[in-house]
Subunit: 234 residues, 4 copies
């Protein structure tokens, strides 16, 4: 499956929420897969390390790790090896999320390692300059997330639309191919629509869906917004 | 199953070795379980995060995580939640391995979190003073591993026996109950025997077994040494 | 000068406050020295690294670094070498402050390095168990500071007196000699008095003095409280 | 003084070498200043934090910190505040040296903080992609240093000239103004000459000069190489 297409992507980050830990991570992934398929929109999930194997065995949508360490196979107790993530069935990994920041030298190494074993890399950045800097490292995707809006319920696409547009502009100065996601506070279909309108090719979402009592309704709302955007802009 | 008994324990740390990644982690665990059972010695394994679920589903010996992060359920992307490790079937976790050192405040928090959800904690330390300091935090087990001997093939029980005896002494000054393991360079049954003779109640082993072409022979050698010690000292 | 006596100590941590940066660090230190001397109480200061040399050249009270790194002389660009701190005139260093936490292995190393070159070590800890654990490393002093009260204006000696008494008890179980300070939120002479009453031999203070418009009044208030305690308890 | 000119710069990093700690840092800086002035080449030094004030008071050449932390004035015990470095007399700071790597988000913040208070930033990077990524953050200078050659005595300009030329090319794709230094293993005047020939506008040097018994001879050799290059290429 080619993950990096021009089609919009909705990626759900499960973080360390209990609502998406263990068996619940599998159930939630099935729900997301089903609705994404029904509405015809690309969806993907990023469960915790311990849940990757079970989730990947139960769904066909792409499964991402939330992080990998910049280590090679060997004596790295307690670290997350890219090969291990791949063996468990992941298609790729988030890197440098604002809750798991990497030193630049380690990020550069991690992007390379992930690329070399055929996984997809999604590097997060908190502002336009950082987003442009990480794009130089040639990841497959960049996700712009102003840290102060993460989990706030106030969507970056509404609260700080200029961060998205400026990021898109700065990223394109140095990298014409990387797929651009945006996130932080994305809570409704309207937020998703606004993100795409601002130039993003997808969204990174977490609490608004994972902590919802009706995740099926939320993911449907997101997917319908993508379809609406696509129909208006094809 | 009560992990913390007075019976000697052989714990195999898989680190990030490819020889114990993915399917190979399950096969190796089965081998270790079978031989431990046949010879009648307590054995346990510490696979990578992504492999815990499959390993724990296939063997009945205790499965440990190699690390957990000092985080509560919530917004901690890319971190290892104790609840997640438990949901995957682990019985406990290594903490503060010399390849994954923790800040003292985080270690204290991690030991508490692990205890609160009913997992067994094994805290590593590189010398007698550090081992004594971590024992104050009341983990279930302490593992003494001088970092310079890890992976060296030169066993701490032979090269630096005084580190083990001094550690046992310093640990007992502050904690009379914690189970004491030792590791670093442990490669043969004689090393295991020497460790027990010096006052340890078990060993932490990695490369000598995981990277061996005949792990079954190595674990049998280790287990037989434990039996020999027990027969001589009962 | 013997820093570690049984006499109470008031140590002022300048943190990175602009009110105590550059020339202001020297002026503030002179004020603290003068009033400490006038009232007859041991006072000491911990300015920023770049200010140690000027402060130490202008006052005779003990000057502490706020941190040193666990590195030996050599290729450690950007790190704080204990020898450098000593050459600048410092008498010792804070270690493991909650705003500059150290990994346990590094803390053990730093305490040793500092001891070896004849500097005084003051290791901070956030609760009773951590305080007891660091006392095993045999620092000269331990400072108990619950992180949630630091800078709060609510003194640990009033808000969580049991943390101080429990810490004193746990520390004394493993170390009968280490000098015990307490801090976090200490704002008035009454807070200082309460700290000594609870069993501490001194206090660690920062914002209440450094950010005050009248630091001379604040330090006098603190010193008078110490004198009052001493007169009542000699 | 305008630090960022097109004239070549020789920057000496004192690291934590005892040969350049305390009083010795002042003496060494005087030697470097004198010879740089005599030969007519731009030289600068980066002493340890505790030595910045004395060095800056005794010489007129630019003095750099080896690191600053991405913190604002306030409650950041044990951190290096940019304002503090400036108050001590520094003209700027190295950032992200391979011995003091920063997380990308922190590096972005540190470059901004340093710029805002009028200091010069020199960001280090270990390879061409990282060097290009940091150039996006618009520091005043970038220093390319392959970590494996640092302190090796084998100069990057001889051992890996393609790293320098590729870095220059990648950096210029995204930033046409940043001054480019190179370092790692630079030991002789020929190494300096080769660096300039490859497109660098200066060098970052440490052990070859600081640990030499005749630093005056070494710096003279470096300066003469710069003059030779300038005469041939004006």
């Amino acid at each position: 499956m080619t993950l990096v297409t021009s089609d919009p992507l909705i990626l759900i980050n499960y973080k360390t929420y209990l609502e998406a830990t263990g068996k619940k991570s599998v159930e939630l992934s099935r729900t997301i897969e089903k609705i994404g398929r029904d509405i015809g929109v690309n969806v993907a999930v990023a469960p915790q390390f311990c849940d990757i194997a079970h989730v990947a065995a139960q769904v066909e949508i792409p499964v991402f790790a939330q992080h990998v360490d910049p280590v090679l196979p060997g004596a790295s107790t307690g670290h997350v090896l890219a090969d291990s993530v791949k063996a468990a069935g992941a298609s790729g990994s988030l890197l440098n999320h604002s809750e798991r920041l990497l030193r630049l030298a380690d990020l550069e190494k991690a992007v390379s390692l992930v690329r070399e074993i055929g996984l997809t890399s999604i590097v997060c950045a908190g502002n336009a300059y950082s987003a442009s800097a990480v794009s130089v490292l040639r990841p497959d995707m960049v996700a712009i997330e102003p840290p102060e809006l993460i989990g706030s319920g106030r969507a970056v696409s509404k609260e700080q639309p200029e961060v998205v547009t400026q990021s898109v502009k700065e990223i394109r100065r140095v990298n014409s191919e990387v797929k651009i996601l945006c996130g932080a506070g994305v809570s409704t279909g309207d937020d998703v629509y606004a993100s795409l309108k601002l130039g993003a090719q997808g969204v990174l979402v977490a609490s608004a869906l994972v902590k919802s009592n009706h995740p099926d309704v939320v993911i449907a709302d997101f997917c319908n917004a993508v379809r609406r955007f696509e129909e208006e802009h094809r």
